[in-house]
Amino acid sequence: MTSLRHAVPSRRESGPREQFMRVAALLRASMAALALFAGSAAAQTDADAALIERVKEAVLKELRESGALDRAVDAGVERYVQRQRAAAAQREQREADARAGSLRPVSKARDHIRGNPDAPVTLVEYSDFECPFCKRFHGTLKQLVDRSNGKLRWVYRHFPLEELHPAKARKEAAASECAVELGGNDAFWKFADRFFELTPSNNKTDIDAVLPRIAREIGLDETRFASCLASDRYARHIEEDYQNAVATGGRGTPWSIIVSKSGKTYPLSGAQPYAAVKQLVDLALEEK
């Protein structure tokens, strides 16, 4: 027993010299293996490559036959689709948040509201008095609010496109604000309704004749109306509306944003048909 213990010394019993000898032996063996491998590498390359190929084929065959490969591919595709969906949803949320964040909150004191002021759904329209499509859309929105049973309020904001309707569109927007100053919110809507009835759009309006005529028809003090119009005191107000339209994504008129009670927004560009706007309003009504 004793001699055996000396012949095969346990690790606990081996001293530094034995340990050094063992490491040296291991190194020598590794060097010899490397040399042998290097020497025979060329000879073994073909055999190894063939072996690797056989192993690959066997593994792939096993994966295919067991269905594991299909399952792995399916899972990968599913994960990719889910990642894409999540990214799209995040992007959508970011865009909606940005739009909702840019949209100036509706103010009963500043904005012109038609319909129930406390309605659950709001349609903010950015409009230009000289735009023929705004003229058309005005009728659509009137109809929509009238039939909404108090569930929709329509907010009118100015978006005069100076590039298309120089001078006139802004002057008309200012005139509508003068109507508010002299006659309140109702006067604004009377002005807008009558203006769109009377005028041909596309910068063909004879504003010197039409504006005083509307002021007279809707019962405003003509002298004060003319004085207000000459003062240009609503230029900043109109510019703020214009800038807000651009900030919310407006690129043409009419530009509308439908807002649900929870704050979800649906952007709508152009004079779209009654059915389309109605469905978007219904969708916003369903939002909790």
Binding site: E163, G252, A271, Q272, P273
Partner: protein, 192 residues
């Protein structure tokens, strides 16, 4: 001109005798029409279809009802040229694909160039149809110039119809000529 029209009639009859080309033309025309009418609200449509909360029926209902915009968001002139552009683009596409299938790459390339010009011009024309839909977008620097045009930008739509018609006539001629043996010059012997 009558020669071109005669060639076009022949080419149309030849290409659209194959239902596959008819289907391709219809698909391209419908795609162009949908793109034109939905153009101002592509963002809204994408948002609706990406959102999982909205029922599919509601998504489809809104997308389909927005097609009514051709009557409310286009003038009579712009609606007219939008439909014409869609039809011409569909027919041109199918006929150019027919030329490519026949291996007539040079003719097809020429017609693709003319047709692309027509399509690009059409995009501008359609963009101008809605009130300033491009005014604050990419074409902002040209907005004043557009407004100064007698038809406020509808000229692009009309130019598109002209270019696509020209493309169709050219491609018609290419197809008709490829199908006929030319008269041999005197003194030569014509083969085939």
């Amino acid at each position: 001109m009558s020669g071109y029209l005669k060639d076009l009639r022949f080419a149309l009859a030849r290409v659209f005798a194959f239902p596959a080309y008819l289907a391709l033309a219809a698909a391209a025309a419908v795609a162009a029409f949908l793109l034109a009418v939905w153009f101002p609200n592509l963002g809204l449509i994408a948002e609706l279809f990406r959102g999982s909360e909205v029922p599919l029926g509601a998504k489809l209902g809104i997308a389909i009802s927005l097609l009514g915009g051709i009557a409310t968001n286009f003038s009579l002139l712009s609606a007219g040229y939008t439909v014409a552009i869609a039809v011409l683009l569909g027919a041109s596409t199918a006929m150019i694909v027919y030329l490519l299938q026949q291996g007539r790459l040079a003719s097809a390339g020429r017609n693709i160039a003319v047709g692309s010009g027509g399509a690009a011009s059409g995009a501008l024309g359609i963009g101008c149809a809605a009130c300033g839909s491009l005014v604050l977008g990419a074409a902002a620097p040209f907005a004043g110039a557009l407004a100064a045009l007698p038809l406020a930008g509808a000229e692009f739509g009309i130019a598109s119809v002209v270019l696509l018609s020209a493309s169709l006539l050219l491609v018609g001629r290419s197809i008709a000529r490829a199908s006929a043996c030319s008269l041999a010059p005197p003194g030569s012997t014509q083969q085939g």
